[in-house]
């Protein structure tokens, strides 16, 4: 497995805060959990209406989702298993060519 399988179970979650309060919550969650922010590039840019994509590691995922659910902020799972997507991106065509 690529990258020693370190991304197995990691997910990418999308939220779009609809109010200033939700935006503040999302900024705080990102800072607390030190998520890998895919977009925007910084928590500073999270405002009402901003599409926020966050890479959450497997070992903090359940806690993160529980906290997010408590806030009532709607979220969507963009990528349910990051390792799988990485493997798909990397070698599919090459493997086919080799065969």
């Amino acid at each position: 497995h690529l990258y020693n399988n370190r991304y197995a179970g990691d997910q990418v979650i999308r939220v779009t805060p609809t109010t200033d309060e939700e935006a503040e919550v999302v900024r705080n969650i990102n800072q607390q959990f030190k998520t890998d922010l895919w977009q925007p590039s910084s928590t500073f840019n999270i405002r009402t209406g901003t599409i926020v994509d966050m890479h959450i590691e497997k070992n903090t995922l359940q806690t993160f989702l529980a906290w997010l659910q408590q806030t009532g902020i709607q979220y969507r799972i963009l990528i349910p298993d990051l390792q799988q997507e990485i493997e798909k991106q990397h070698g599919f065509k090459r493997g086919r060519s080799r065969r």
């Binding site: 690529l2 990258y3 991304y7 990418v12 999308r14 890998d36 922010l37 895919w38 977009q39 925007p40 590039s41 910084s42 500073f44 840019n45 901003t50 599409i51 994509d53 890479h55 963009l78 990528i79 990051l82 997507e85 990485i86 798909k88 991106q89 990397h90 599919f92 065509k93 090459r94 060519s97």
Partner: protein, 308 residues
């Protein structure tokens, strides 16, 4: 060899550099490879100059990819662009006209250390790999390190942040090398194009403030035509506009610097997609992404050759 190079898969830094050597050797009448310096980890910073060599003065277009390490579709596009240029030169009158009248300077991977790191260690690394022993966090955001409103809004002075602006402007040898190259050729280079992912946007200055650029109508017209051309290929919609309002405010960006440095057309492409795959755009989507983007770039090039 160059002929065995697959443009529809992602390539490591070493593969890209080998490919550059091959292109330089195979298409020596159109391609000239040189180095503009070394990265933090002492890797060469290679550029390909495309175009028919001429004794007369020629304008130029600068294209860089891979400022942010994890945005792999960028370097994939840079390779695609070079491939298209050399393979269509003999039968495409537009491409012939471009290469006779202009040079293209292509930097397939600007952040070479970061790109290599994203292949070997951390797939989602963004910054350079310069070390900060004092703070224990490495790297600088190469798109916050340019000397234009440096480290202001939209950048961070925290070395552990992904948008860290660096200890001072052009602290990163990669940024310094490119800036030095462009400064020396500021009267020659008429367009600066930088390729990122992901958002499906075509952005122009300013990033650091909400004001309109002086040549707004010309730049906006070029962007409008470019996204229309892009849309015509596969129906993919790109938003376009000033970076500060279309995306968000950021300071120290390369397009703002290029514009301030006198380059009239400075664009940042945020390529596919809008989040379904994000940075993990499958290799099956390299071809459609690059094909549509190619048309956008050709449009911008045509625009700058006309008077506006």
């Amino acid at each position: 060899s160059e002929k065995g190079h697959d443009y529809e898969v992602y390539h490591s830094l070493e593969e890209i550099q080998n490919w550059m050597y091959d292109m330089n050797k195979t298409y020596s009448d159109l391609v000239h490879m040189f180095s503009i310096g070394k990265s933090y980890e002492k890797r060469p910073l290679f550029i390909l100059r495309l175009g028919k060599t001429s004794q007369t003065y020629k304008r130029a277009v600068w294209i860089d990819c891979g400022i942010h390490a994890r945005e792999w579709i960028g370097p994939a596009f840079c390779q695609w662009f070079v491939k298209e240029v050399v393979q269509t030169y003999n039968n495409d009158p537009v491409m012939q006209m471009f290469l006779n009248r202009l040079y293209f300077y292509i930097m397939p991977v600007l952040n070479v250390d970061g790109y290599h790191f994203s292949w070997t260690n951390d797939r989602f690394w963004r910054k350079t790999r310069s070390k900060s022993y004092r703070f224990g966090c490495n790297g600088v955001d190469a798109n916050r390190n340019w000397n234009v409103q440096w480290c202001d809004e939209g950048a961070s002075s925290d070395p552990c942040d992904d948008i860290y602006c660096g200890p001072f402007p052009e602290s990163e040898p990669e940024v310094k090398a490119v800036a030095k190259f462009l400064r020396k050729r500021k009267h020659q280079i008429k367009a600066y194009l930088s390729f990122h992912a992901y958002a499906q946007m075509l952005l122009y200055p300013y990033s650091y403030k909400y004001e309109e650029i002086p040549n707004f109508s010309c730049v906006e017209s070029a962007a409008h035509k470019a996204v229309n051309a892009l849309y015509s290929v596969h129906g993919i919609r790109y938003r376009y506009g000033p970076a500060s309002t279309t995306m968000y405010v950021s300071s120290g960006s390369s397009i703002d610097w290029a514009y301030k440095n006198g380059i009239p057309y400075a664009f940042a492409f945020e390529l596919r997609d809008t989040g379904h795959y994000g940075f993990l755009l499958p290799d099956s989507l390299i071809k459609p992404t690059c094909t549509e983007t190619m048309l956008a770039v050709k449009n911008i090039t045509l625009h700058l050759l006309k008077k506006c």
